[in-house]
Subunit: 313 residues, 3 copies
């Protein structure tokens, strides 16, 4: 296969949002991820002597620890914090600007999660080292999307031709925003499943439309379940609601369980970026449709691949 | 010495509670610990390429850091959290089930501390990687017991024939529960020293009785001090009391100090799993009886030995 | 150049305060730092097999992470905590004494930050491993001073002959206390710039006077700006004020910005230990006077040099 991209395209590159990546670049990352998953030992200590900063201004388990695992496997050392409250940022009112300036002088790459939209782009402008966006407010979570799409490709052998439903809090979820952007590189159909007040944000919808991707919006899973190849479930992003009353309205609004997927394709795959709370029943876990634990595990391989491409060999 | 056990008995084995270990298995671990303490360099980087997860849902200094030190010495990398509040578990309501599922897909072993009884067993059932119980509620703390008994054996050359007193909060202390179980493998006498409302839990007493171990219960240290070879002191487990008034009753109830050990054997050894608050006077620190700092240091060697046995060479 | 000092003078030495270091010893450390900055690769893995404890009882970004980066670069492993609340100290009331006793049995060096004056000295008395003071209350922060002076020497080629102004919260700032002590080894003039209630502490002033160092105190930057070679700015140490009303008085009291440095020497250098809040305008960042980001970066090299000297090769 001939690529229009090469490893050098990724060297010291920022990973801020999924719109910055072409289809060929995404496929290049997925192929590298296959390499990692097949021959993990060839990546061991590949980045020895490099240092990676992890600064997380919001709680995380998977993103933080899979990046840490990836860095460990590549032989990188790490600095930073998993909890900002005991940093100067949280404890003494230091600016994000100064925080980024400092870490970019200490290490070779900064992986950051921050509640503000635009925070990753802001960091990339300040830093002279590459930034990886580990989640910026409700806006983007590009490495999550990469591992989501890698998991879909791994399962179906391709992404073209699939119908992908996204259900849940599409308004505040950065995972579905990033995924929607990235899917426009493929010949897919997207179905956004949410009540009106949690539906896909206008700018995401506009982007999908502009890219001529086939999509529709619906309130009910039942009206779409029979045609889905992939059902992507997201948690209500409690932390994004400024109005607690609005959040209360969402309580028990939807749950994906054995009942709600009745009539689905035999090959339906259910994904979830995790953590889940009530929106995805554990009764799904043991069905053949559940792919979210494998998806979470793929995060490790994808992030090894990405760091390896960005920081060289 | 011929063992009924071999290293292979420990490979990928869960360490949930002390009742799961035979006398021969315990001795095997102690002998391995002697090796670590004598020739630490032969263990350096022995587990290079392995990754260990540390997830602590309760505060810890010694257990967390001695496991971390042990992992570091063996050349393992580590992931996890020392404070759950910035994980998805603490920050977003993720279940323990999903947390364990994820870490077992990232790393080779999970070391967990959790306030719930049964949590370690629960984790072991979920995980396809071995679980080490770093403390489960007031129930079990098996690696603490192993290092306690190693320290006793190191001091006296044997455990058989000794009289071991345990004083303090025997009701809520997981260290004395685990120690009581494990001592039933030896020919010892156990004296439980506590006021009625803090005495040894019925199921622990029943187990000791069923194993035909010589034991007695008393309210006063003074009535037992002259026959003790080992005095094991525990902290009041403030965090285990659901009723603050009941906790207040324990205030200043007992303290082991120079006065209270009057009449003790010249060879008496005082142990404490630490941290201590008021129950063990610092005036004891400089006496020949104090062995708790050496005990804490042994935690490092014991945990190197155990990880080495579990995760192979 | 012939030194009165050699590497052996630093082996396993405590770094508690700047008054313990002679001019020759400081210069020796600065020269070693030049080596690190020029040939970082020769220091890689130089301390492999050593373990460093980092225990921080107050928030930190730079000190914590530059020590961590330095340890990583030298190939040391690390243990400890960045947030005491989930340790036994914070969570169970363990004493600092017991905490230090334990970590000194686990690792080769303890780097500690603690809000109490005298805490580092106290730790050094307990520990049988060297202590590095990463900040003790409002008293001392010796490694900060070392990197400050290294940065000055790097810029001017020397420290003798310079006029150094310190502005801000000189009463509660440990960085300016430590810097004042250390500067008495040089032929400098010190100008303390602060309102009366934030002026240099009596014991610091007395020490400077006793060492026959030329100094003056003033309330206004404007009266001193034209003669300064170095302007050292410090943050109001909000966390040191026991009376919130007294802290409020300091609000907006001073700010170093383009206006306030009018009339300065062309070669004026502005330093700040960071974090800054309002006292140093970001409008300074892009001027040739700003050296604080370079200063922060130097922290990494200085700490590699220091650890390397202390823990051997």
């Amino acid at each position: 296969m001939v690529y229009l991209v090469s490893e050098s395209d990724f060297r010291n590159r920022d990973v801020v949002g999924t719109r910055d990546f072409t289809r060929d670049q995404l496929e290049f990352i997925f192929d590298k991820t296959v390499e990692v998953k097949t021959n993990p030992n060839t990546f061991k200590d590949k980045l020895k002597g490099k240092e990676v900063t992890l600064i997380f201004f919001e709680p995380s388990t998977r993103t933080y620890n899979s990046f840490l695992t990836a860095a460990n496997m590549l032989g990188c050392t790490t600095v930073g914090f998993q909890d900002p409250s005991f940093s100067s940022y949280g404890g003494k009112g230091e600016s994000l600007y100064d925080t980024i300036k400092m870490f970019s002088s200490y290490s070779d790459c900064i992986i950051m999660r921050h509640p503000a939209m635009g925070s990753a782009k802001f960091a990339a402008e300040i830093s002279n080292k590459p930034i990886i966006n580990g989640g910026s407010g409700s806006q983007e979570h590009p490495t999550q999307t990469m591992l989501d799409m890698f998991t879909i490709r791994e399962k179906f052998g391709k992404i073209d031709g699939l119908t992908v439903g996204m259900i849940g809090d599409l308004k505040y979820s950065r995972t579905t925003s990033s995924l929607s952007y990235a899917l426009t590189n493929y010949n897919v159909k997207i179905i956004f499943i949410a009540p009106d007040f949690l539906q896909v944000r206008p700018e995401v919808e506009a982007y999908v439309k502009q890219k001529n991707v086939n999509f529709m919006k619906t309130r009910e899973l039942s009206s779409a379940i029979n045609e889905l190849d992939v059902l992507y479930v997201t948690r209500i992003q409690k932390e994004r609601f400024s109005d607690p009353d609005e959040h209360k309205k969402t309580k028990g609004f939807y749950q994906v369980n054995s009942d709600s997927i009745k009539g689905c394709k035999d090959s339906l795959v259910i994904l979830h970026p995790l953590p889940r709370v009530d929106e995805l029943s554990t009764s799904i876990d043991t069905t053949k449709h559940a792919l979210y634990f494998q998806q979470a595990e793929n995060g490790k391989y994808l992030r090894v691949a990405l760091l390896s491409l960005m920081l060289g060999g």
